[in-house]
Symmetry: C2
Subunit: 370 residues, 2 copies
């Protein structure tokens, strides 16, 4: 019998709370479907810093490179805001992304019909919305050198005497591989890719545009490709998001645009993500799964967190890392059923009411619906 290895990294804030609910789901699949998961758990982010003095221990990094998949909760929080940059919680996450080489970050922005009224956008603008943002995740301005804060004392023009530097750097190869991921995904969807950059003002944007076009022309001529400046992209996402199918963009633009897109749907506590790398020996991509929401320090420890985004992230793991597509469907259906039954964590509770539940009760309901 194959075992499926999984490294769970609950992280900070509501991370551990939502992860407890995922554990219930895993147990259910083990007990009722005889699927063997080999689950280990470790620290990341502020939690790792508290124990190890850094946001990701080397052993944890090594473990992440051995398993079939990593499931991460969330990192960061005000308790860690004043830490030195090199040990910030976020750097643990960035190290995982970089060393696992997870270059394609898949962020679906889907509007769940039962929740369309939570959007600040009009129902007719977001109902049925289903776009997929593919964000480059291992390069760009998050990683480029030189970087840092330096003294600029010799410059009498510079009041304050310091300079802060980051470098946006993309190779053609880095752009091509994430473009391929986007075209592959589009083929299973509506066959349309929109690439976003600022080629009008940034040379790295010109390279981005040219390389995406190259991959299209040489390898995916059958997929519809368009290009858009990222500022216009932000506008169009607000104006008429349904015009998009797959959006492919760089690390920084992807961060901003995918968060805006997630918020459009009104379903922030519902949205999963997958970060995929090159295929491993088992033929499946190296992978890490994370809810799109953050560590939500304001509601930590109150039983208010919505575990659905993390549970749906596990569903993505079932599909992409364990080849258990039927089981992923089953889990997603269970979530839909619970929502249709009116079961609601605090974030989902609207004027039309519903059955209010805690984080833990939501987990139980979903397991019950499996």
């Amino acid at each position: 019998m194959t075992t499926h290895s999984l490294l769970i990294l609950p992280g900070d804030g509501i991370g551990p709370e939502v992860m407890t609910e995922v554990r219930k789901v895993i147990d259910w699949f083990q007990t009722n479907k005889g699927i063997a998961f080999d689950v280990s758990e470790d620290l990341v982010g502020g939690a790792a810093y508290d124990k190890h003095g850094k946001p990701l221990a080397d052993e944890t990094m090594a473990k992440a490179l051995e398993v079939d998949a990593v499931l991460l909760g969330a990192v960061g929080g005000p308790a860690y805001d004043n830490l030195d940059f090199s040990v910030k919680p976020e750097r643990g996450l960035l190290r995982l992304r970089k060393e696992m080489d997870l270059f394609a970050n898949l962020r679906p922005a889907q509007c769940f019909d039962a929740l369309a009224d939570f959007s600040s956008l009009k129902r007719e603008v977001v109902a049925g919305l289903d776009i997929l943002i593919v964000r480059e995740l291992t390069s760009g301005v998050y990683f480029g050198e030189p970087r840092g804060i330096h003294s600029d004392d010799n410059n009498p023009q510079n009041e304050g005497g310091r300079v802060g530097i980051n470098t946006q750097r993309y190779t053609s190869g880095e752009i091509r591989r994430v473009a391929r991921a986007a075209f592959e995904l589009a083929k299973k969807r509506d066959n349309r890719v929109c690439s976003m950059e600022k080629a009008n003002v940034m040379e790295s944007g010109i390279l981005w545009r040219e390389e995406v076009q190259w991959v299209h022309d040489n390898e995916y001529p059958e997929v519809e490709l368009s290009h858009m400046y990222a500022d216009n992209g932000a506008m169009q996402l607000v104006r008429r998001p349904s015009q998009f199918d797959v959006i492919v963009t760089d690390n920084l633009f992807g961060d901003i645009l995918s968060d805006a897109a997630a918020m459009l749907t009104g379903s922030l506590g519902m949205l999963p993500s997958a970060s995929l790398g090159a295929p491993m020996a088992n033929g499946r991509p190296r992978a890490m799964y994370e809810p799109v929401h953050g560590s939500a320090p304001d509601i930590t420890g109150q039983g208010k967190a919505n575990p659905i985004a993390c549970i749906l992230s596990f569903a993505m793991a079932l599909r992409y890392s364990y080849d258990l597509g039927a089981e992923a469907d089953l889990l997603e259906k269970a979530v839909e059923k619970v929502l249709a039954d009116g079961v609601r964590t605090a974030d989902l509770m609207g004027p039309e009411g519903g059955t209010p539940v805690s984080t833990s009760q939501m987990g139980d309901k979903i397991v019950g619906a499996l």
Copy 2:
């Protein structure tokens, strides 16, 4: 009698069309209020490229540095998409911003009540919305060196063999001066500034946060200051934009976030902007005014463009460059009246109807209401 010098740069696309309407407004003030404007006109962007082989002639640049204010229409368009980077229309605009040292770009995002239904957001989310984004405009990743596309042939790992580089670079002095502009503006509004960056992953973001905080603590302790990561900022703008008063952010984030904010209001064809620099000999800031909308090639030459954003940009010039606050009020009131009367260019024509007018008729109506 003081004369008020103005350099008009209509630029590309709908730029010349909307500028024709501003000319009518200027004529009205000259004839009816005895205000002497010394207006000159020149080329920028693709129009300048067509004539000079570059997007801004040196004489135009020199002229821009002499006048009290510049009013620019829009630059760019598909006809120029394949030009070499160094002569792209946008580089004419960037040169003006840089050499005039217009470090503070003011982008109001206001929802005009008569137009709230044009927003894709719910009326209750955007009605009465009035936020001001102050974008740093002369530094950051648009301008930092090194930059360019280079061969990376020696790197066997790099399929494609090229690398694209841009540098995000901010000095403490550059951050402080735009922060001061934001605090000064906040004092005349709701006294709140929210600064946005990615200090969790970028050192230039850390410097940004620290320097804005420094200006606050040392010079504007009475203004309320908060900090937000730019991705969360994008989310919050969509979720509940009315939580903001003044937002201050860098060149790149400001580009994206201000476009998203403009679109929230549903009034894109209505929004002006001002880019301000250091005080000139006359005590007023060096200044360029522009509509927030672009060159709109899809509707160019059809009499469909809405001239209001450009007319309101001229109103900002009256206020900030010519010390003609009462005249600015008068012009803004005339615009409001025309809208309240149901006069509508194509972009403003909704289900509730109105009087459809062309670009030129809208200009006439506004002059008629003065």
